[in-house]
């Protein structure tokens, strides 16, 4: 078991292997994720019951919650990749960070935007300086700093290292930001879903929500693979294996 895992990890570091495998996986993941998103959207928007307190407005939850949960998970996964890059100098980790940062930024932005649209009818304001909103905004700023840092270095390796350093410093600082804004101000409703305890949401609403979250994760997987392939092909366009591959097609 450990040996196959180790083998897989080493294979993951190789551009040709990843390029080949990802090309096979992408169509399945793409179809699956997009159909999941469509199903959960239709289910959530038309078939799930209306909320007793918030009315139909609550249905934006099927976009808001997946986007926000994905945006944080992407950042943490990027920090793992950053550690891998700094410790083992695995080039693929640099590709991962560079490709996933714009996706994470986009999802954070969707989360902020859908939250604002949800906040307008329920809280009566587009934006409040609440703890969760503020820490999501800071997360968005971290993403922007990471994306901005990509272009400041001429050499690819230096840029990857710089970005890994920023990502790691960011992940150390993120819990501090979260806690400090928590003490500062809190208005946002607490999380509706909890893995360990009882969820505060009815099951008819919960199932499409879980489906939409799953769809968002798969969509990140799908776009992440696409972006990573694009990044690999720009980095390796002059290499022998890539020329051979593209001349075959």
């Amino acid at each position: 078991m450990f040996k196959t895992l180790k083998n897989f990890y080493h294979k993951l570091g190789s551009y040709p292997w990843f390029y080949k495998i990802s090309g096979k996986v992408i169509p399945f993941v793409g179809v699956f994720s997009i159909s999941l998103i469509i199903i959960s959207s239709i289910w959530g928007l038309f078939f799930s019951p209306t909320d007793a307190v918030q009315g139909d407005v609550y249905r934006i939850i099927y976009f808001h919650v997946p986007a926000v949960s994905v945006s944080q998970v992407i950042y943490y996964s990027m920090s793992v990749a950053a550690a891998v890059f700094l410790i083992w100098r695995m080039k693929m980790a640099g590709v991962y960070i560079k490709s996933l940062a714009p996706i994470g930024a986009a999802f954070t932005f969707i989360g902020l935007l859908s939250g604002a649209i949800w906040g307008q009818p329920t809280w009566g304001t587009w934006w409040v300086w609440d703890a969760r909103l503020t820490s999501t905004l800071v997360l968005f700023l971290f993403y922007l700093a990471i994306i901005g840092m990509q272009s400041t270095f001429a050499s690819r390796k230096s840029a990857d290292t710089a970005v890994s350093i920023i990502t790691l410093v960011g992940v150390v600082n993120l819990p501090i930001v979260k806690k400090s804004v928590d003490w500062w101000n809190t208005l946002h409703q607490p999380a509706s879903i909890s893995i360990s305890g009882e969820s505060s949401i009815s099951s008819e609403m919960l199932i499409p929500l879980l489906l939409s979250i799953l769809g968002a994760y798969l969509f990140v997987f799908f776009t992440g693979l696409l972006f990573m392939r694009a990044e690999i092909s720009t980095r390796e366009q002059n290499k022998e294996w890539f020329k051979k591959l593209s001349s075959n097609n």
């Binding site: 400041t152 710089a162 350093i165 400090s180």
Partner: protein, 219 residues
């Protein structure tokens, strides 16, 4: 040990001979502090409430002027390269540089922030938490500045500030909150302890990261 004392002396000499390094943050601070009453309101009641936040934000922004100084000149004249090649403990050298930069760019501002009592009608009983929170909070900001400066060496881009300001957010929150607590008669020591904890926790991490960032420029 002797080596590091020498570097400390050298840094002090460089900063004290180059007067712009400590005059420009001070000038910036004084100008902005006197602009607030003109731009917002000269009503003492309003200014009094805003003063803690205004002072803290101005301090934060004035460190933006000086954070490039930590490494940029040494980078241009090549002495960083020599330090990297010297085989000495780099994080200690970086720490010395940050410390001296703090003394010359932040300490004068902290002393001058006392002036806000006259200019912003800041209540005198708030001075103690103001000075303490600035004394403990600004080193953390200087650390972030060193990291941002090390990463954006030789480049005039927004990435330095864009990296530094979001990182400084907890310090800003805890610092202004300490002042507001004490003005409302609440014990503010927990905030000061938290600021200290953040400083102690981040110090080794940021030093390590800054050294890594410096090495990037010399492959």
């Amino acid at each position: 040990m002797f080596y590091f004392i020498k570097i400390l002396k050298k840094e002090f000499l460089i900063y004290s001979r180059k007067s712009s390094s400590f005059i420009s943050p001070v000038v910036f601070f004084l100008i902005s502090i006197s602009l607030y009453p003109i731009g917002i309101s000269n009503d003492p009641g309003i200014l009094k409430n805003l003063a803690p936040g205004l002072i803290w934000i101005t301090v934060l922004l004035s460190t933006l002027i000086s954070f490039q100084n930590i490494f940029s000149e040494d980078y241009e004249d090549g002495s960083i390269e020599l330090l990297l090649a010297s085989g000495q403990n780099l994080s200690l050298i970086v720490l010395i540089k940050i410390f001296v930069n703090w003394i010359f760019s932040c300490l004068p501002i902290i002393i001058l922030s006392v002036l806000s009592v006259f200019l912003l009608y800041f209540p005198q009983e708030g001075l103690k938490p103001l000075i303490i929170s600035l004394l403990i909070g600004t080193p953390t900001i200087c650390l972030f500045g060193a990291l941002a400066g090390a990463l954006s060496l030789g480049k005039n881009s927004i990435t330095g500030p864009a990296l530094m300001l979001p990182l400084s957010l907890p310090v800003l929150i805890l610092g202004t909150q300490a002042i507001n607590y004490s003005l409302n008669g609440i014990n503010f020591s927990s905030n000061i302890l938290l600021l200290t904890a953040i400083l102690v926790f981040l110090l080794p991490i940021i030093l390590f990261a800054s050294v890594g960032a410096l090495k990037l420029h010399f492959n």
